[in-house]
């Protein structure tokens, strides 16, 4: 049962600039376990350390106190083993690479040969519904399309964990809902574990199997809401009474923390 845990955090605290006048405790005493195949959203007011938490899991920031384990290893080992992929709010595509070459960037770094990269890229382009855009440059794509390229890139090396930092935050509402549907389809297909940071309550409820609600800085996980809506999530899910009930539950949990959108 223990190897079913993908991410475990125990008493995790992150302090920026310790000892200096601008010392800042971003998150304190975070305790959570994320299981294989789960879709967990982190939601909370601005500056509550959601993104920091994601970076602690990904070894992009060192923890100040406590323990983080990813697949039973330290975050550093997990990063070196390429256990996870990250998707940011900005697509962060490299300007000088075409869509195809952006998607196979991770495979290139991991030393896969060109044949493997080509076939994988083709497969991923069809997964994110971007066939025929292989030779386009990022600036020729809309924001939503760029984000789909970023998603394809993240999935290219089949990581067991996907860390997503407000990936749809910069998109308009309609594109956003379409991307959520697409993400659900891909998640059902790949069975990847996802940790998803968001500001949007309906987004968190629609996507997740669990929603972790965070308090303002220093951020802690104040409540975890189970989202037992039927799988797979579909367009009609958003219209179910149970959906509204869960949205209300998360909203209640966030009550008192201002600044929530």
């Amino acid at each position: 049962m223990l190897d079913d845990v993908v991410v475990s955090m125990r008493h995790v605290t992150k302090v920026f600039n310790p000892g200096s006048p601008d010392e800042l405790t971003a998150v304190r005493d975070i305790e959570i376990e994320i299981r294989r195949g789960e879709f967990l959203s982190l939601i909370g007011p601005s500056g509550c350390g959601k993104s920091t938490l994601l970076r602690l899991i990904g070894d992009l920031l060192p923890v100040s106190d406590g323990q983080v384990a990813v697949n039973g290893k330290s975050p550093y080992e997990a990063r070196i083993d390429r256990d996870y992929a990250m998707v940011f709010q900005q697509a962060t595509l490299l300007d000088w690479r075409t869509v195809g070459r952006n998607i196979h960037l991770p495979l290139e770094i991991m030393g896969h040969d060109i044949g493997q990269r080509r076939s994988k890229t083709k497969e991923l382009l069809s997964l994110v519904d971007l066939e025929g855009f292989e030779d386009h440059y990022p600036w020729q794509l809309s924001g939503g399309m760029q984000q789909r390229v970023a998603l394809a890139r993240a999935l290219s090396f089949e990581p067991s964990l996907l860390l997503m930092d407000e990936p749809f935050g910069a998109l308009d509402e309609m594109t956003r809902e379409r991307m959520q549907m697409e993400l659900m389809r891909i998640w059902n297909q790949t069975q990847t574990t996802v940790v998803f940071v968001t500001h949007s309550i309906p987004e968190a409820v629609f996507l997740s199997t669990r929603v972790a609600v965070m308090s303002p800085r220093p951020g802690r996980i104040s409540e975890v809401v189970e989202i037992d809506l039927p799988q797979p999530r579909r367009f009609e899910t958003r219209e179910m009474p149970e959906f509204f009930a869960r949205v209300t539950e998360v909203r209640e949990a966030l009550r008192g923390f201002s600044e929530v959108e």
């Binding site: 970076r55 990904g58 992009l60 990063r79 070196i80 083993d81 390429r82 996870y84 992929a85 990250m86 940011f88 900005q90 962060t92 490299l94 300007d95 000088w96 960037l105 991770p106 290139e108 770094i109 991991m110 440059y137 600036w139 020729q140 794509l141 809309s142």
Partner: protein, 268 residues
């Protein structure tokens, strides 16, 4: 849109974008010619464009041969200086100690009047040896290329850096896949400045003494003998070469980085 229509509209676009400049240039030459005649300006102060043209026709073999030698000096210095500059910049990206130890000096020397070294290099290599001019150009080119390139290698978006780190990319891969491509726009803006500097450097260095058949020596000798129309024809050949080098850089830039904001079309 069909292909011929595209070519047609492209041609129209060229005509429309270059026609004003061409017209102004012609107007400028006409006014210059008229001004010299009307105000009876002495030929040693400002020769008429037509006189310069005649002098050019009379001397064109000499001028172009001289220009060719000077161009070789400029090109030699350009290549050497650019290679050294990029090489040093890459070293600073790899080893922070190199950057911290070297960069302040680079910035300081970049502000020094490098052309003043010309007589010294004449003494080192011999005035008629093209190496003495190449050395001046090399030093002139080295610093702007290095400083810009260092800036380009360092100015990487933090999220792009996080992305590569998340793939467990090492410093060498980050350099190759991220820092070097990111520095290309910086390198090219340095090259555009430096190609013009190279021609200036080579010609001015020749004013301090050089082989008989070089542009700088030709211009200064003609001027000393009050043959100003001839001197001007030399200046014009030097300018054409500078413009040619600049355009060459622009052309290469378009080939190498069509994706850059300054070169690409409007987005979706």
């Amino acid at each position: 849109m069909s292909a011929p229509a595209r070519v047609g509209s492209l041609w129209h676009r060229y005509v429309r974008s270059y026609a004003p400049a061409a017209l102004i240039f012609i107007l400028f030459l006409v006014l210059w010619e008229l001004a010299v005649i009307v105000f009876q300006i002495k030929g040693f102060l400002l020769p008429r464009p037509s006189a310069i043209w005649e002098a050019y026709l009379d001397n064109r073999t000499v001028v172009w041969n001289a220009g060719y030698v000077t161009l070789q000096e400029a090109l030699g210095g350009l290549i050497l200086g650019s290679l050294l500059g990029t090489g040093m910049a890459l070293a600073t990206a790899r080893w922070t100690t190199v950057r911290e130890g070297l960069l302040p000096f680079a910035v300081a020397i970049n502000s020094a009047p490098i052309i003043a070294l010309a007589p010294i290099f004449n003494a080192w290599f011999g005035a008629s040896n093209p190496l003495s001019k190449m050395a001046v150009v090399t030093v002139m080119v080295f610093f702007p290329v290095m400083i810009n390139m260092v800036r380009g290698l360092a100015a990487v978006a933090s999220q792009e850096l996080e992305l590569l780190r998340s793939y467990a990319a090492g410093p060498r891969e980050i350099l190759r896949k991220l820092r070097i491509p990111n520095s290309l726009p910086y390198l090219f803006s340095a090259l555009k400045v430096v190609v013009v500097l190279a021609m200036i450097g080579a010609i001015v260095a020749e004013y301090f003494g050089g082989a008989v058949q070089t542009l700088g020596v030709f211009i200064s000798q003609q001027a000393a003998n009050t043959r100003f129309a001839q001197a001007w024809s030399g200046i014009i050949v030097g300018s054409l070469m500078g413009i040619g080098l600049y355009l060459l850089v622009v052309l290469v830039e378009r080939r190498v980085m069509p994706w850059h904001v300054s070169l690409r079309g409007p987005g979706p």
